[in-house]
């Protein structure tokens, strides 16, 4: 079964890029949001929950760190992977509970490997 990924990113081209990469590497994109507020609402209604959430930082309405906090309040086991060009968001992101941080522009192999690693880590041990 393919890993489910939810995308929070305000740049349409970057979303397109994520979708294409994720499809090629066998992930399933279960949805995306252009801003933090909408992301929280969509995430709350997602069933089943995504295995990994890709999170930008500089977003309209709510930034990535605030959005991550809210998402983790809804589901503390959510795996949020920060992917941002704003390197100053790394420490705040990790300290509110993001599971990983990648700097933009990311290396394709590292991006794919990190999502896989986080997604599989979220699975029950029995399925490994």
């Amino acid at each position: 079964m393919s890993l489910k990924v939810f995308i929070v990113e305000d740049d349409r081209m970057v979303i397109e890029t994520y979708r294409e990469i994720l499809k090629i590497y066998g992930f399933e994109v279960v949805g995306w949001s252009y801003n933090g507020e909408e992301a929280i609402k969509k995430f709350a209604n997602l069933n089943p929950r995504p295995d990994v959430i890709i999170m930008d930082h500089r977003l309209p309405m709510k930034n990535g760190v605030e959005t991550t906090e809210d998402i983790l309040r809804i589901d503390p086991s959510a795996k949020v992977l920060f992917v941002s060009a704003d390197t100053t968001s790394r420490i705040p992101a990790l300290s509110v509970g993001a599971a990983g941080f990648l700097r933009k522009p990311f290396e394709l192999k590292e991006f794919v490997a990190t999502i896989k690693q986080l997604g599989e880590g979220a699975m029950p041990a029995a399925s490994e």
Binding site: V14, A85, D86, R103, K104, P105, E107, K109
Partner: protein
């Protein structure tokens, strides 16, 4: 009136020929009030003083809140307030109006305290005379005006700095964002086994350029961070541990080249310097540059570290990285110099197309209290390779 005060009066009267200065006199002693009024009544052809007098601090404060004055003459001993507090109370609500303190001889120390706290001047009652008082008022107004101009300039400079930092931040952030799809799609083409091989080679070049752009943005950001960080916040690194890592990285990045690296390091002593990851990246950058610019397949690099004593109380490690690549013309060498990257040098560097990495290293080394320069490997012949010398303070 003295020449100096006439000149100042003239400057004030440019527009209206006659300058009218509104003075608030906060003084309860009728004798002193009369004296001051008489002295200022003399005025001159170009200058008229219009005096408002009040007896108490409370009324003075009310006046200054509601009306505009050019200067305040303030007696420190009033019925409702005595001493330095009188000044502080009035000053707190009228920061833009020059205050001249009037004091009696035995209270001169308090008057000096008032000047330290922001009063423009103080005058001693009993020693007052017309010209002294007029000049005191005019100088105070002029000084206050200059202070205001200076303050505005400082505020403008600060806001210009904030703006330029913000623009840089947007630029760095958005370009990194824009590079993401470029790099990702080019990498997808590289990995696509169905794509023709020359297409994949071209895509690899796009990836390489995007990576360079990305690492350049990161270097500039790093430099900005470094310059804002106090020295005690940086990690200390041992050069003997660092160089093998740097060497490995450069070999990995340039599998097409045969790179030989020889070392000459002092034995039995820790080669510790301040700078952590930044010093690491700098040496990586210096070696990367050597590998990037080497035209031949073979590149020989030697790394030598020697103690370099300074005249002051600091001692340094001198690190010399020599390569047999294509060398560097003198004009470019000059940009990596002991004095670091001054603003002028940075600007000149832009117009001369100097590799920004050299300027960044200069600024880094300078920030850590060190220095650096570039020499010819073979003195007098710049085409035979370069020797990059970096002096960094030794850490214990």
């Amino acid at each position: 009136m003295s020449t100096a005060s006439t000149a100042m009066t003239n400057s004030m009267a440019v527009r209206s020929r006659v300058a009218v200065l509104r003075i608030l006199l906060v003084e309860d002693n009728p004798g002193d009030v009369r004296l001051v009024k008489e002295m200022l009544a003399e005025g001159s052809k170009q200058l008229v003083f219009k005096i408002e007098q009040v007896d108490t601090l409370a009324v003075g404060i009310e006046k200054i809140k509601r009306e505009k004055f050019d200067a305040v003459l303030l007696d420190l001993g009033l019925p409702d307030s005595k001493g330095i507090e009188t000044f502080h109370s009035l000053h707190a609500i009228s920061l833009d109006v020059p205050i001249i303190v009037l004091t009696v001889l035995h209270d001169e120390e308090v008057a000096i305290e008032a000047v330290r706290g922001g009063a423009q001047d103080y005058l001693i009652k009993g020693k007052l005379e017309g010209e002294l008082l007029t000049r005191g008022i005019l100088y105070s107004i002029e000084r206050k005006r200059s202070e205001g101009v200076l303050r505005n300039r400082t505020v403008q400079a600060e806001s210009a700095q904030v703006r330029s930092e913000t623009y840089f931040d947007y630029l760095a952030h958005d370009i990194a964002n824009l590079l993401s799809p470029i790099m990702a799609y080019a990498e997808l083409i590289c990995d696509d086994s169905a794509a023709p091989s020359n297409t994949r080679v071209r895509a690899a070049r796009i990836v390489e350029q995007a990576r360079r752009a990305s690492s350049f943005i990161l270097s500039l950001r790093t430099l900005q961070d470094v310059e804002e960080t106090p020295l005690d916040k940086f990690d200390i690194v041992d050069l003997a541990d660092l160089f093998p890592l740097v060497e490995r990285r450069v070999r990995e990045d340039h599998p097409e080249k045969q790179i030989s690296v020889s070392y000459e390091l002092p034995a039995d002593v820790a080669l510790r310097v301040i700078g952590g990851v930044h010093v690491h990246s700098m040496f990586e950058g210096i070696l990367e540059n050597a590998a990037n610019y080497a035209d031949n397949e073979k590149l020989a690099v030697s790394i030598r570290v020697v103690p370099a004593e300074e005249a002051g109380d600091k001692s340094f490690w001198q690190i010399e990285i020599t390569d047999d690549g294509p060398g560097m013309p003198d004009e470019l060498k000059a940009f990596f110099m002991p004095s670091g990257a001054s603003s002028e040098r940075l600007k000149k560097g832009i117009s001369r197309g100097v590799a920004s990495s050299l300027l960044i290293y200069s600024a880094l080394v300078g920030h850590f209290g060190g220095s650096g320069w570039v020499e010819d490997r073979v003195p007098g012949d710049y085409t035979k390779g370069v020797k990059v010398v970096v002096k960094l303070p030794r850490s214990v």
